[in-house]
């Protein structure tokens, strides 16, 4: 995984609450057997019209927001399935971070595990971010746990353990393999009990 330090980018906002995993990726896309190239299917029911053309009404199709790497959204983002494809779609589309009012628990971990930084901010701050001019950049500083926008700096919470992994870009399984002995001991103790 790529280490995350600072992310500076313009933002795009989809402010609905309870954006579920079915909205993030259509079911037909999760039938694939690879981890790559999910960018085109992100929000597909909203991004495309019935005939496959881009829906001009949907904010992601607004050229002013092209290249935005930070998504701003509402409450309970990523609600629903455990489908990691939802995060792969965000990542492959180009989002490096999601700033939400709050996240679904399973989805939050899927973000952490894929290096898409989940940032929870207060409702007012999310609403402010959502109303920024399209060309105004926002900076997320993971080591400092701050989001800087429109001349203000907001602090966000992230567990120190997850933060460390993201900042260093640690491969989870490789890290856990250093606990091999502890796992073996645990299994032994179980057998003896």
């Amino acid at each position: 995984m790529k280490p995350i330090g600072q992310i500076t980018s313009t933002v795009v906002a989809v402010m609905d609450d309870n954006i579920d995993t079915d909205q993030l990726v259509p079911k037909q896309a999760i039938k694939d057997t690879t981890r790559k190239n999910y960018g085109d299917v992100l929000f597909s029911n909203r991004r495309y019209l019935g005939d496959g053309r881009l829906n001009p009404e949907f904010v992601l199709n607004d050229f002013k927001h092209e290249g935005a790497q930070i998504l701003i959204t509402g409450h309970n983002f990523g609600y629903g399935s455990s489908w990691e494809h939802a995060v792969w779609a965000l990542r492959d589309y180009g989002f490096q971070a999601v700033i939400a009012k709050d996240f679904n628990d399973i989805f939050y971990m899927n973000c952490i595990n894929n290096g898409v930084l989940p940032v929870k901010l207060a409702d007012e701050q999310c609403d402010q971010l959502a109303s920024l001019p399209a060309d105004q950049p926002v900076t997320i500083d993971l080591p400092q746990q701050t989001v800087t926008f429109a001349g203000q700096t907001a602090q966000f919470e992230i567990n120190a353990f997850w933060k460390d992994r993201l900042v260093k870009g640690i491969d989870d399984i490789e890290a856990t393999e250093t606990f091999d002995n502890a796992i073996k001991k645990f299994e032994q103790r179980r057998v003896e009990e």
């Binding site: 981890r35 029911n45 309970n76 609600y79 399935s81 990691e84 709050d102 996240f103 399984i173 606990f179």
Partner: protein, 457 residues
């Protein structure tokens, strides 16, 4: 120090890590299916890793399988996913219940059925409805594919311990009101995110009186209230259910002696307690596009309070002030990991016996597993469903999520025993209305929901 059942279960499985930090938990059982596992196996292969404990892993096919002719997968992409799991389980030496096997079915139906699911365990699956297994007094939770790979490789997972919430469910369920209504009613009252950050335990005299299958329906939908984990203390009902199943412990008495220590010492141990009285609970029907958008059958749909409501009404084609009886039902679906077990089919068959579904209604009955199908056929339930005009199908997830050929057409209102009513969940433009199997059966007969409390037994 007194503890909740969840705390006890958690403590038993900590391999490393300090309290208050993410901890490395040992996983007793991982269930796999074709949709969320291919990339995990691919990751193992790329990094030359093996499966740590194949004996703690069990795989089956459920999401993609066609239920009309389960042996003939016409969709090439589905077929590839199915064949990939078949090959992966062979390569990595994992038990696999293929189509046609007596053990094949929806992961959350077969786990308990085979006795793989047991009290005291940690159980994971790349599926959010893994909360189902908590009904046995275990920690069951849904995980993403990266975590599936991590568990395959190490038999452990890093998790932050959630807060705990007790949901005290008490009172006698009124006639016509079921376990499904308890969980739908709870989410309708508390919202779709009330459980975020929590592990929930359901307890109280109502819960104690429920069968294992009813308890599973409740724990199953815990994720719809935002919590990854839903659990119930194991008791005699649990022990009786597990005893005699294929993978049940050899020494049941010793196992039970241990399982009897799994309970919450005091209500005060929960971080939060909420109270749910069922004595006045009515059958619940969802009107909108998340499971919290639901009302008692005799109550009008709510006024529009925000953009979410507006969007939901727009999609579903209904108006505030209408009632469930006014929804024109053209499709009925019986099945899923929520309500696809034998007792659910019995309830539905009991209603449909001697009746016919309304003209213009399509009804699918999809047993949750091969074993449920066989048991139902032995009881003659298949004939009752067929006589009533329903399609009797092969086991799988089917129209619960429409990843297979079973889909509800656009614009059609479907009375469904499933767990999610998201936009497009059962098919593009499909309009899902969640309810109990009895409510769905009466809706199929009448072409609309009715207040089944007014119908005699």
């Amino acid at each position: 120090m007194t503890q909740t059942m969840f705390d006890k279960l958690w403590q038993r499985h900590v391999v490393a890590g300090d309290d208050g930090e993410p901890q490395l938990l040992y996983i007793d059982l991982q269930l796999l299916h074709e949709v969320t596992s291919p990339q995990a196996f691919e990751g193992l292969r790329e990094n030359h890793r093996k499966v740590h404990s194949p004996e703690r892993t069990f795989a089956t096919l459920d999401h993609n399988v066609p239920t009309e002719d389960i042996f003939n997968v016409k969709d090439a992409i589905s077929r590839k996913q199915i064949e990939t799991l078949r090959a992966n389980t062979k390569e990595f030496g994992i038990r696999f219940a293929d189509v046609g096997s007596d053990e094949q079915g929806i992961v959350h139906v077969i786990g308990p059925e085979l006795g793989l699911t047991q009290p005291g365990m940690t159980i994971v699956c790349g599926d959010s409805h893994t909360a189902t297994h908590g009904a046995f007094g275990s920690i069951g939770f849904g995980i993403g594919t990266s975590e599936v790979e991590h568990v395959l490789a190490t038999q452990t997972i890093w998790q932050t311990k959630p807060k705990t919430m007790g949901v005290h469910v008490h009172g006698k369920l009124p006639h016509g009101v079921y376990a499904k209504d308890i969980i739908l009613g709870l989410i309708a009252r508390e919202g779709v995110a009330f459980g975020t950050g929590y592990a929930i335990e359901y307890y109280g005299d109502t819960i104690e009186a429920l069968s294992m299958e009813e308890r599973m329906s409740i724990c199953n939908m815990t994720i719809e209230g935002g919590a990854k984990y839903g659990s119930i203390r194991p008791d005699q009902t649990t022990f009786d259910y597990v005893r005699g199943r294929k993978y049940a412990p050899k020494n049941m008495d010793a196992a039970i002696a241990d399982w009897q220590t799994l309970y919450t010492d005091s209500e005060d141990d929960f971080d939060r307690v909420i109270d749910f009285d069922v004595t006045t609970l009515a059958p619940i029907v969802s009107w909108g596009t998340n499971p919290g958008m639901a009302v008692p059958v005799d109550r009008p749909f709510p006024e529009i309070q925000n953009d979410d409501d507006k969007k939901a009404y727009n999609y579903i084609g209904l108006k505030p002030g209408q009632t469930a009886e006014q929804i024109p039902i053209e499709f009925a679906f019986f099945g899923s990991c929520t309500n696809g077990r034998l007792s659910d089919l019995k309830v539905a068959a009991n209603v449909l016996k001697g009746h016919h579904i309304a003209p213009g209604v399509t009804a699918l009955v999809v047993p949750g597993s091969r074993s449920v199908k066989n048991a139902a056929e032995k009881l003659g339930l298949d004939q009752i469903f067929k006589d009533a005009g329903c399609d009797w199908r092969e086991p799988g997830c089917s129209a619960c999520l429409g990843m297979n050929p079973d889909q509800v057409p656009a614009g059609v209102h479907c009375a469904s025993t499933t767990n999610r009513n998201f936009e497009g969940r059962q098919g593009v433009g499909a309009r899902t209305h969640l309810a109990s199997p009895a409510m769905v059966a009466y809706a199929a007969i009448n072409g609309h929901f009715i207040d089944i409390r007014k119908v005699a037994d």
